[in-house]
Amino acid sequence: MSRRITFIQAVREAFQEEMRRDGSIIILGEDVRKGVFATTSKLVDEFGPERVINTPIAESAIVGAAIGAAMTGLRPVVQIMFSDFTYMAMEMIANQAGQWHYISDGVLKTPMVIETPGGARGGAGYGHSQSVEATFIHPPGLKVVAASTPYDAKGLLKSAIRDDNPVLFFEHRRLLTQRGETPQEEYTIPLGRADIKRKGTDVTVVAYSASIPKALIAAERLSQQGIEVEVVDPRTLVPLDKETIFASLQKTYHLVVVEEGRRRGGFGAELAAIAVEEWFDYLDAPVQRLGGLDAPLPYSPVLETACLPSADDIVHAVLRSLGQEV
């Protein structure tokens, strides 16, 4: 049986099911009991204040506490209220969470999830709107998830919670209230497996999170012009399912990559580098890379929108890739 539930509900269900299954899972974060974005709201009623813990406003220490708890037998989930604030805990995430397993030669594990909503939704301004996922593909030992649908969110979050490594789980605020078909029955989605969101033969568009709906709109428009775009959603940036992307490229020979994070040093930069290194013979045109403007995000809605790739921009990038744009 399947129902249409929101992204928020899907995430809450994943928490609920996992916390019922495993008593070592705790949730830590600012206002997680009532829950400003509601992914954790009311969990305290079922699991009690010892497992759903409101913390002081101290992102670095919250993540630090989760690392310590994870090393000693708990499986913490940290909620960082806006993903922009992961930067306040950068030391803990980049230097500590992802590194101890390796340098302890496998003795220490840090099974933890950082759940964090973010991205531009209009009206929140420079420090509550950024898409910072790509920042976390650089430090070692971290996994990075960025789901685009409620179905994916639930299945991936359950896997993230069960994973023995630190996983960053990004939620785009524009997607939080979107609904999607989600089965009633238990399921998980392994980290590191991409999903084809639309089949096509002419151009491969790799996009994730809130760029997926835009890529699908662009694909629809292009289809009316006789161009069939394949939309590939990696769903996890680390580990990256290169096989699925490569398989698509072997059909299309054209690659476009879209993200809302800033373009410079972004996910697209990484993917384009992989494409050039490993799939050079399957590129008929330069990789087209779309991303946010390399500037702070201005507040005014007209300006914010102009800093981010649109469905139109994706259409143009696909046409450029095919050499059909002057």
């Binding site: 600012e30 922009d84 420090g127 201005p298 507040y299 005014s300």
Partner: protein
């Protein structure tokens, strides 16, 4: 000691401006005329307004996200605030800042999106005043929840070590978003933490504009005389919800009602009337003038154009 009459009237008018402006902004947010959410401080107007009272124009203020009181207190106008909230080209930032109000020429310094990121910056501004001998005082306002942030301790340490002209002002409104502060703050008072760093502190009724003004005046004059930092904790209460998207319901009605009895604006008005400084006619005239100023500002913001999209490429680097 009472405040002089003109000062009191000025503070009163500013508090009323804050209250009416917040009400108006709330309506505009709910009507989706303003794209951001609003964080209001119903019942805590005396803190921001009172703290800015004894400051000079050139003194530095690092205010808060619930900060109409301090921004109006420091001299920003409703039109400056509204055009930012609307994201219009006529705003001081040409649509870039939104809620993060800024006006360096009157000492209004950055309001970081991330709570607590201002602690270090405020230390830097005070250090700069001291090294440049500018005589300027820096005020760093923050909530009791924000005192948990990681730069709080180091800021006190540096301010104390270097005897900086810095006033830490904790606006303790008893709520940290949707939680009562004692759920996430270990002690009833924040101020004694300053004592551990050798910074003198006072705990003051934040709903009494006279006391807020005078405590800040003492701290500012200490700072100007080279006496170093002071920590002030003002006890007050947020009678509204955390922000416009918060339906509330978690604050006990009796608690809200009890604090409504201690409303800082009512108290100030009663004081002025008792001193014979204020009449019902004065009140009426002032309300009309303030409302007219706000309505003119709303109209100006409404009619202003959005910024030109090409401006997004300007000022990425200096």
């Amino acid at each position: 000691m009472a405040l002089d009459h003109d000062t009191l009237k000025d503070l009163y008018r500013k508090m009323v401006t804050v209250r009416l402006l917040e009400k108006r902004v709330e309506q505009l947010v709910m009507a989706a005329r303003i794209p951001c959410s609003g964080h209001f401080g119903l019942g805590q107007e005396a803190v921001g307004v009172g703290v800015c009272g004894p400051l000079r124009k050139e003194d530095y203020l690092f205010g808060t996200h619930r900060g109409f009181a301090e921004y109006i207190g420091k001299g920003m106008t409703p039109a400056e605030i509204l055009t930012e909230y609307y994201g219009k080209a006529t705003s001081l930032s040409r649509g870039r800042l939104g809620q993060h109000l800024l006006k360096p020429e009157i000492g209004v310094m950055p309001l970081p999106s991330s709570l607590g990121s201002e602690f270090g910056m405020a230390v830097g501004a005070a250090l700069s005043s001291k090294l440049r001998g500018s005589g300027r005082v820096t005020v760093n306002l923050f909530g009791e929840g924000t005192a948990g942030q990681s730069d709080f301790g180091p800021a006190l340490e540096m301010a104390s070590l270097w005897r900086l002209p810095l006033i830490f002002v904790c606006n303790n409104n008893q709520y940290v978003e949707l939680a009562h502060y004692r759920e996430v703050v270990a002690t009833e008072d924040i101020a004694p933490r300053a004592g551990a760093y050798g910074v003198p502190y006072e705990i003051v009724d934040g709903n009494d504009i006279t006391l807020v003004y005078q405590a800040t005046e003492r701290a500012a004059s200490r700072a100007r005389q080279g006496g170093g930092p002071t920590f002030l904790e003002f006890k007050t209460y947020r009678r509204c919800t955390h922000y416009t998207g918060d339906p509330g319901g978690y604050q006990p009605k009796e608690e809200i009602a009890a604090w409504a009895q201690k409303d800082p604006i009512d108290r100030c008005r009663r004081l002025m009337m008792a001193q014979g400084l204020w009449t019902a006619a004065d009140e009426q005239a002032m309300l009309e003038a303030v409302s007219a100023e706000i309505e003119a500002a709303v109209q100006f913001a409404e009619e202003s154009p959005y910024p030109d999209v090409s401006t997004i490429y300007e000022h990425i680097y200096a």
